[in-house]
């Protein structure tokens, strides 16, 4: 089986976020740390688990992003992916899912993958669109928010369990080739192994410059971004930890919780 895993590099959400001068994206300061989007880690691990159970399977990892995004392709190799592809864009700002999806579909279409995995959404933009858009562009079916997958009743199918909102889930049979978007908790992503880290050091990543087929007009653009409006209603309890603790107990007592 030939598997493609889509991984995205995102700013570490624990880093403080500053908005750039024209308010069109966050500004990339030197302090900003980047890493692989958490949901994509689960997708990559799932691909490697499939490879371990199905000899002859290969796992390719692809990212769409600026030069610094090569780091998540390298990380994918360190975690065990066989090959890495970096579709390099000029933009370090917001890339609409439709554009990312077209670039990945272009690569995937030329390389006949049986299975394409992606995180259910990205940790930064949380749209949940890129995976389903890739499927639509390739005219293949898509299962979203997968929390378990296994070979299906017939060859060339998978049985998937999809977790929906409110804690309900649905089981489905999907035919290959297909896109699966992966929900967190499906597995426990492994740490890079020493042998893979060494291999990744010298392994070449296929670097492709972005060329969107047809007209590359964006479907939507960012007008402006801003820090979320902080509600006026909340009270920040002040003072030393000791004073805050006393104040908290007072609040709880006054509201008859204790």
């Amino acid at each position: 089986m030939k598997i493609l895993v889509c991984v995205k590099q995102v700013p570490d959400t624990e880093s403080p976020l500053e908005i750039n001068r024209d308010k069109t994206w966050i500004s990339e300061t030197d302090r900003m740390a980047f890493r692989m989007s958490r949901y994509d880690e689960y997708a990559l691990e799932e691909a490697i688990l499939i490879r371990e159970s199905l000899p002859g399977t290969t796992v390719d990892a692809v990212t769409v992003g600026p030069a610094r995004a090569a780091a998540v392709v390298k990380k994918s190799l360190e975690k065990g992916a066989d090959n890495g592809i970096h579709v390099v864009t000029d933009e370090s700002g917001y890339c609409p899912p439709a554009v990312t999806a077209r670039l990945i579909a272009e690569h995937a279409g030329a390389n006949a993958y049986d299975l394409i995995l992606a995180g259910v959404m990205s940790e930064d933009c949380m749209q949940g669109l890129t995976g389903p858009m890739i499927a639509a562009l390739l005219s293949i079916p898509c299962a979203a928010s997968v929390i378990s997958e296994a070979p299906g009743p017939d060859s060339g199918t998978l049985t998937v369990e999809c977790e929906y909102d409110g804690g309900s889930s649905e089981t489905a049979v999907i035919s290959l080739p297909a896109v699966l978007t992966i929900q967190s908790g499906i597995n426990r992503p492994r740490y890079p192994s020493l042998s893979n880290v060494l291999r990744a050091k010298s392994q070449e990543i296929l670097t492709v410059s972005a060329s969107v087929p047809g007209n590359s007009t964006e479907t939507e653009s960012i007008l402006s971004i801003d820090h979320a409006h902080k509600s006026q209603a909340g009270v920040f309890i002040q003072g030393t930890p000791d004073e805050k603790a006393e104040q908290l107990l007072k609040v709880l007592h006054e509201n008859s919780f204790i």
Partner: protein, 328 residues
């Protein structure tokens, strides 16, 4: 300017937040004379279609097929773009959910339309309608401007009020659909697994987020929970993904929605997914080491502290105060 609402349904009944979608559609239509179409799927939809037409005033289209008993995203990917074109709809509106985002994504690709998910509000920029949503775990809001003739939107549940229809009923039609399940077939559905009813019954929920750091620190929250009567421990998704607490404890969009008298969020950053599951709580207190955590924007009381040192301090003071009260 016409609008197509694609509502979710189960067992031939419309699912909320379909009335909120009607409100959104009316806002998009503004004063123009466009029509609002509302479609939904099922195996036997005529009764529900009639009911929906009379209580929304929309032109309701029931999509009927044996193969639409359950979610069939592959079939909807074919049907919805065709309906949007047939009825010349500028906007296609769906509720924000994992299933609907699949349908939205494929519809946008097929129609070469823009696609914006989890819309929280609208605003005007000259002639254009601009859509607002959150990114970076709710820390940043972004205004998006669609650049295409057609627009596909998914609406964040709870962001728009439910529509109260007072006028005359709309029309309704039932269409028998050619759908198949050859590439994707739902074989079963299950509602929430025997979840801990303790979350539903609790007056006080002490909830663990990534900030607890490691599984061993859960006991700090358990000790804290003991000072309240009728309390239970909840969790954000990432705590469950890490196996620190079972998924039956998860509060949020893919877990439980709770509304206790008191919700104490400990080390929870406050993603949209989590907040939507607890914002109905009567009193919300949040403890987080990050002063910019989004959870603070929905909290009544905010404490910027490291919970692993702060909560034990609170527990210690509580017991000390109890002892000194007893002396009196």
């Amino acid at each position: 300017m016409n609008i197509l609402i694609v509502a979710d349904a189960a067992d031939n009944r419309l699912l909320q937040p379909y009335t909120e979608l009607v409100t959104l559609a009316e806002m998009l239509r503004q004063n123009s004379s466009g029509r609002i179409y509302l479609c939904f799927h099922g195996t036997d939809v005529s009764e529900e279609a009639e009911r929906a037409a009379s209580n929304t005033g929309c032109e309701v289209i029931g999509l009927q097929s044996e193969h639409l008993r359950y979610h069939n995203p592959e079939a909807m990917k074919e049907i919805i773009p065709l309906l949007a074109e047939e009825f010349e709809c500028e906007y296609i509106c769906l509720p924000h959910s994992i299933y609907s985002c699949q349908v939205a994504a494929a519809t946008a690709v097929r129609l070469n339309a823009s696609c914006i998910t989890s819309v929280e509000s609208l605003s005007q920029q000259g002639q254009d309608t601009v859509f607002c949503r959150s990114i970076f775990n709710g820390k940043i809001t972004v205004k998006l401007l669609p650049c295409t003739g057609r627009k596909v939107l998914t609406m964040l549940p709870g962001a728009f009020p439910g529509h109260e229809h007072t006028g005359s009923g709309g029309s309704c039609t039932v269409r028998d659909i050619e759908a198949d399940t050859s590439s994707y077939s739902t074989t079963g559905v299950s509602t929430q697994a025997a979840a801990d009813s303790s979350l539903d019954e609790a007056d006080v929920i002490i909830s663990a987020g990534r900030g607890i750091g490691k599984m061993e620190n859960i006991r700090i929250l358990q000790e804290f929970a003991r000072i309240f009567s009728g309390s239970a421990i909840g969790a954000s998704r990432i705590v469950c993904d890490n196996d620190w607490l079972p998924y039956s404890r998860q509060v949020g969009i893919t877990g439980k929605t709770v509304a206790p008298g008191l919700y104490v969020a400990c080390g929870i950053s406050g993603s949209q997914q989590h907040i939507s599951g607890m914002k109905g709580s009567r009193c919300i207190i949040s403890i987080n080491i990050d002063p910019d955590a989004s959870i603070f924007s929905v909290s009544d009381f905010c404490i910027v502290e490291d919970l692993t040192t702060f909560i034990p301090l609170v527990i210690e003071k509580y017991h000390k105060n109890c002892k000194s009260d007893k002396k009196h």
